[in-house]
Amino acid sequence: MIEVKDLHKAFGAVKAVDGVTFTARDGEITGLLGPNGAGKTTTLRMLYTLMEPDSGQVLVDGIDAAADPIAVRRRLGVLPDARGLYKRLTARENIEYFARLHGIETQLMHKRRENLVDALEMHDILDRRTEGFSQGQRVKTAIARALVHDPKNVILDEPTNGLDVMATRGLRAFMRNLKAEGRCVLFSSHIMQEVAMLCDRIVVIASGRVVADESPDALRAQTGEANLEDAFVKLIGSEEGLAA
């Protein structure tokens, strides 16, 4: 479970995150929806302790990220906005590097890697160097790398960004699977249909603030709009930066 309490983060005069509070529960998919530049990536970066909040608190399975960032990172699987694979290493070597950084022993590492390779259908690319990978192959490798330590909580920053239809469908099925395994899945997106389709709970962010935190149905009821797209536009106050 990931609890976020009143996070603030400013870069100079720009308030990137200005009081964000929400909870992402185990066995649920929580979507962080907002237009480009709303503060989604900055919020997530504070969750996985890459950035320190100016104020506010992040709790992962009850552990305070400010007090014990390493323990928090151990419980998180993170696909950052920057995928950043090592292009001179093969997909397998990329995955095994992160497994070793987590201190996973060799046998367990092989087992976990095989499970992920099966689930993500990436047998054909496993022993190729990642240089020249397609966007979809890159995301698969980065996700396998991020989940090789079997984390209870999974953070995905715009996971379907740049993927084609088939890859997107595959990834959505994979996320539902993570949810079925009882994990806490938190992902960000600026694509409304995707969020509406996948999420049990939607946190809408605009200009660094949470403007709604509801189930898709409740969201429709709250805004009085039957169509989710109209509901989002009403919440955010403009159509800018959103994709259907």
Partner: protein, 391 residues
């Protein structure tokens, strides 16, 4: 497996697959010094040998005015060449190293007992001109002395009357120490090998990773950043150590194939030299690794880091220049100053003077202490939020 070790191994493996890094660390860096050493020595030796021992071919103008002089000079190795029309121009254009001209009134001055004039036309600023001019001048002086002595004898005087002072030279230099000026720039190649050996890795592991956006996922792992940093520094040090060892071996091999004894020098570049040279340079490996990483951490891109580190490469040349042009007397305290200590130490080793264990110890302690301090600074920069964020 320990996280630091994991980072270390991964960085070494990844960079061994990078042609540019491998080329600069394991081929270019270590070979440039020994190759320059051999090439320069060979050129120098060949040049000097040719000038010092071969027949001295000099165009002579007016040889007919002084047949006795020319006859004596021929005995000592002069091979007179046909006169040329414009000796000044020929020397300026480097068509001739030196030209001798005997004026028409030579014979008249000689027979009337007045100093007879001989002109030597040469260009002292030309390397090739000096040795033959000097040789010819020595021959002429010898001829003058001998003729002067004969004249004194003819007048019933002892030649020693005209030589009130005798200079006895006792040169304390050894063959190696005479090579001093020449050797003073060689230690720079050791420093450069260490610097270049680690440079591309330092850039790639910090600025490069940031540019490729792989630092962010890396730092999402449950590993303290200083552990990651130590692993990366380890990889940089491994490459520059390899570069250094190859350089030392390269110089050792070069020492064997060199015609140094022809110049009156001798090099003792055996296993003892290799071990001492590596020991002396060890602290520079750590020092450059932290320094290069620190600079790379400030750069926003690979290119920017490359530019900064290119500028920084000039700094190690300062001690070499200093020792080359200023007569600095080496002292023990100098070993405490990184770069300067290595400069003196390696020069001494090349000259065949052993460097004491105490001096090597001083260089090690102070070098590593400075590296540690800069390393702390680098660790602080590594902890900054900005480092991981590429976009």
């Amino acid at each position: 497996m320990n996280a630091t070790l994991t980072v270390w191994l991964k960085e070494v493996r990844e960079n061994l697959r990078d042609k540019r890094t491998v080329f600069s660390a394991l081929i270019y860096g270590p070979l440039i010094g020994p190759v320059m050493f051999v090439v320069l020595m060979n050129v120098l030796v060949g040049h000097e040998m040719k000038k010092a021992e071969g027949p001295l071919k000099v165009p002579v103008i007016g040889a007919a005015h002084a047949p006795n002089l020319i006859g004596a000079l021929k005995q000592w190795g002069l091979v007179p060449q046909p006169p040329i029309a414009d000796p000044d121009k020929a020397v300026r254009d480097r068509d001739a190293d030196v030209v001798m001209r005997i004026p028409a009134d030579y014979g008249k001055a000689w027979s009337s007992g007045k100093p007879a004039q001989v002109d030597l036309i040469f260009d002292a600023s030309q390397q090739g001109s000096n040795t033959p001019a000097k040789r010819l001048e020595t021959m002429l002086e010898r001829y003058g002395r001998e003729q002067g002595a004969l004249r004194l004898l003819a007048r019933g005087l002892s030649p020693s009357v005209a030589a009130p002072l005798v200079i006895s030279k006792r040169d304390q230099s050894t063959p190696q120490s005479r090579a001093g000026m020449f050797l003073s720039f060689l230690p720079y190649f050791f420093v450069i090998a260490v610097y270049i050996g680690g440079m591309y890795l330092a850039i790639d592991l910090t600025a490069g990773e940031r540019e490729r956006q792989s630092l962010e996922p890396l730092f999402a792992n449950p590993v303290a950043r200083w552990r990651v940093l130590v692993g990366k520094l380890g990889a940089i040090c491994s490459f520059s150590l390899a570069s250094l060892v190859l350089t030392a071996i390269g110089f050792s091999v070069a020492g064997h194939v060199m015609p140094a004894e022809k110049l009156g020098m001798a090099f003792d570049l055996g296993p003892g030299f290799i071990v001492d040279a590596i020991l002396l340079e060890l602290p520079l490996i750590a020092l450059f690794a932290v320094l290069e990483t620190l600079v790379a951490a400030f750069a926003k891109s690979y290119r920017e880091a490359q530019t900064y580190l290119g500028f920084l490469m000039i700094i190690p040349i300062v001690p070499s220049m200093l020792m080359g042009f200023l007569p600095v007397k080496p002292a023990h305290w100098m070993y405490a100053i990184p770069l300067l200590g290595q400069q003196i130490g390696i020069s001494d080793l090349l000259r065949g003077t052993p460097v004491s264990a105490g001096d090597i110890g001083i260089a090690l302690v102070f070098g590593f202490a400075l590296a540690f301090l800069i390393g702390l600074g680098t660790a602080v920069v590594y902890r900054s939020e900005r480092l991981a964020i590429s976009a």
